[in-house]
Symmetry: C2
Subunit: 267 residues, 2 copies
């Protein structure tokens, strides 16, 4: 057994939706969460910057003695996962590989859409992983830069969000996709509007659940799960304190937690 | 005379609209521009973080031997101007004081609206400066978190932007404002939609022009203008290289410039 916590990081608060899934799948594990709210978003930035920030995030989590790291940010997963795995002596899990595998399993007509940040789309990481699973699958990706601010503004069931979703998603529907990956951890918060545009014949994939399952399998196989009986602790850290953390935290985890502020530039 | 350049910084690319005004008012001055594109936006973040970042930005500009600093970012102007003036031995100009003075001059019914980022609105800086100019003026402020991403997405004359502008601006119109301050340097890029919602009876104030005039007066009075006859140089630095800089630069300055990337965390 290994009673140390699991580390989870994200560019901000989107990773709380992944954290919700992790708690659901592994209710006995302790969690240390870091949200880089001072430098959020990563999705509009370049690969080198994203990787530099992600390395600092992992160094912070390692200072909290974590046994594994979940990159609960598609932008960082798709741009920086390899670099993180090379740089650190801790198992690192991203959202892209589990999400891509699930989409490849679910599609019937072999046409998969991806909606994500500009940096995730530019990386081509989802496409690469889907093609690895099944090279016959056609992949269409669309960057949706307004979805993160819309989710953070709380306009989740809203005409503006619906019109924006139409603008972004209709080009994928015209290509005939039967499966769409929600390739950013904020997007499950907008699921209502996305579903309304995509229609009931399109399967939406949220990589968070598959990611949580994969981490669980890994820990179980290696006898690394937490075995203590007392209730696990959850700790939340951010690089800037704002209201958005509280709002999204209550929504994603159905409970309010207080986050402690740290200076990530020192890591 | 003082032939050193003027330093201008912003959280990202919005300050390029201010730079355009500076070049118009002072065509013989040299410019060093820094856009903190790796950590953009500032407008959703807390006062301490904004001030820490702004101090780094000024330290970088000072390393380029500037004779004055323009804070071409309303969020930094409204949260950090006093701290910057205390910390550095260089004249520092913000957008808030000139913008507030102009609004106080233009309003006839003494009702002024402010649209800005969440952090600018929270600071109360515009309100304080308007009340200083005329304590009778009623001030109504509205945070518009979606305007920056809409401007950066390039949806400047667009149904989604128009609907969003209606949502943000109608509450101000209901209060009867006859003057609205564009309290974020990105907003002039959305002027078309904002004007359509505000109507022709409302005066829109862009603080950039007043800010440029104020800097010009300051330099002229102190005999600090550039007197060299050869064409001035403009230098642009960013903390992350992305397409957005090029796009907004071409739009705001009507010319393309190439920005050099630097690591702002080292300052």
């Amino acid at each position: 057994m290994d009673n140390r916590p699991i580390g989870i990081f994200d560019s901000g608060v989107g990773g709380l939706t992944v954290t919700g899934r992790v708690l659901q799948v592994m209710p006995n594990e302790e969690i240390v969460y870091f949200g880089d709210t001072a430098r959020v978003p990563y999705g509009s930035k370049g690969k080198e910057t994203i990787t530099r920030f992600s390395c600092q995030d992992v160094r912070f989590l390692l200072s909290k003695n974590v046994k594994a790291v979940i990159v609960a940010c598609n932008t960082a997963s798709s741009n920086s996962l390899e670099q993180l795995r090379e740089s650190f002596d801790v198992p690192v899990f991203g959202t892209v590989i589990p999400g891509a595998a699930e989409a490849a399993k679910k599609t019937k007509n072999k046409k998969v859409g991806i909606i994500a940040t500009a940096a995730t789309v530019r990386s081509g990481a989802y496409e690469k992983e889907i093609k690895k699973a099944d090279s016959q699958i056609e992949v269409y990706a669309k960057a949706c830069p307004l979805f993160v601010p819309l989710a953070e503004e709380g306009w989740v069931d809203d005409e503006v969000t619906y019109l924006t979703a139409k603008r972004y998603i209709e080009p994928l529907l015209e290509k005939g996709v039967d499966t769409i990956i929600l390739g950013c951890t904020h997007y499950p918060l907008l699921r209502g509007c996305i579903e309304k545009v995509a229609g009931e014949n399109v399967t939406l994939i949220d990589p968070a659940y598959e990611t949580a399952l994969k981490v669980y399998d890994y820990l179980k196989e290696r006898n690394m799960t937490r075995t203590l009986e007392e209730s696990p602790e959850y700790k939340f850290y951010v690089s800037d304190t704002t209201d958005t953390f509280d709002r999204i935290c209550s929504k994603a985890l159905e409970k309010k937690y207080t986050a402690e502020e740290i200076n990530i530039e020192l890591f």
